[in-house]
Symmetry: none
Subunit: 132 residues, 4 copies
């Protein structure tokens, strides 16, 4: 489980990181069931990234993986090529989604979208750190 | 425009109202473009209401109306019967969505879902009051 | 949580009831996140009911309610009219879906489809009884 | 035809294999019509793999092929590139789906998802063996 209080704490840490790197972001938190707990879109963040942030969070929980790692396996010729057409379009296969763990078990996930893959990843990592 | 800061203030007021009436809620805020600014699911709120709260906010902005008023017009035999199958399923036709106005102009909307229609409406109104 | 072992026990009880009333059924079990744990289609049960049984289980968990009770509120003029166009078509608003509770808390749901509303409801109730 | 009794027997063999290799799996069985007969998600198996296991079973029956063989033909530049966007998104193009044959004729299929392509394939093969 990820409580709303925890989700908002994670989001706050992610926002601070996004401000620090100067790139407005969408940040979404999912619980153990992959369902949305909270989402924020920072002022001037891309509207196309609302959906992507929510789906990255779902994806990271759906496969207990970072979406960046999944991206590598979803390339042409790799073992999960085509996985992004599963789950009714809810799978995103690029950086910015990370599992949230407690006691070694995945209990939710964070999804970040609004900048480059590297920026999204950095902001997601800041959120994970705040949860640990 | 509804800034993220304003959205979180509206959500906070809505949460307080939800706590006061003892019914956990999903609360979503949309901006002038109908796009999500922020969403929170209170602990133990229905997971089926995540989607509904977001769509009520979209609907209230999409037609600059309360979803409760739209509900009346969307009944069998009334002039907007069937409207909820438009817009790729993003239209919700029951109480809990309200426009957010500034200077007489609609600049966004709030969508609330998690209880009876009356409860959702009361929580949405608390959010609107905090914005005014 | 509903473990797979528990899900199969619930399904077994539901199957026995379906055999007793002579109507082959689809039976689906969802966990706390609304995600499928197990599904079976009895021989000669309707193929159109595969999807319906899975969606009834989701619906019963999504709103912590029996789908039969939701059906009443989803009629024209009632407060949840139109709810079945939410959640990307995953909401079913007729009898056969029931929450699974443990210690007063909803931890999953059963969805049954393959006969009349009354038959579906009876089979779902047999499943719930086996879980209690 | 694959009866429910046969499907559960196949699933049981697949589960044993999954336990033996220490990777929890989703296992789905489809009949000659490509429609789901039974599905189980083992405890702690990925929730994103529910959908994938069901779709691998459909795919293996839809084209009477292993999904691993289809994967090769679905790569960029190959003759079935893009096939996974057909059939309303029900086609999966990576290992884990195998046809079930009786008397040389395809009568159904198994779909497995929850680990690496190699693991999914091994578990699906264990299911096929139990059916033969």
């Amino acid at each position: 489980m990820v409580s709303l209080e925890e989700a908002l704490k994670i989001i706050e840490a992610a926002r601070k990181k996004a401000l620090a790197i100067g790139q407005p972001m969408n940040v979404a938190i999912a619980d153990a069931g992959g369902n949305l707990v909270a989402h924020v879109r920072m002022d001037d963040a891309w509207i196309g990234s609302i959906d992507i942030s929510i789906k990255k969070a779902f994806t990271a929980r759906a496969f207990n993986t970072s979406t960046r790692d999944l991206a590598a396996l979803a390339q042409p010729g790799r073992e999960f090529f085509g996985i992004n057409t599963s789950n009714e379009g809810r799978i995103m296969i690029f950086a910015g989604g990370l599992p949230l763990k407690r006691g070694g078990k995945v209990v939710g996930a964070i999804g970040v979208s609004g900048g480059s893959g590297e920026q999204d990843q950095a902001v997601a990592e800041a959120g994970v750190t705040a949860f640990s």
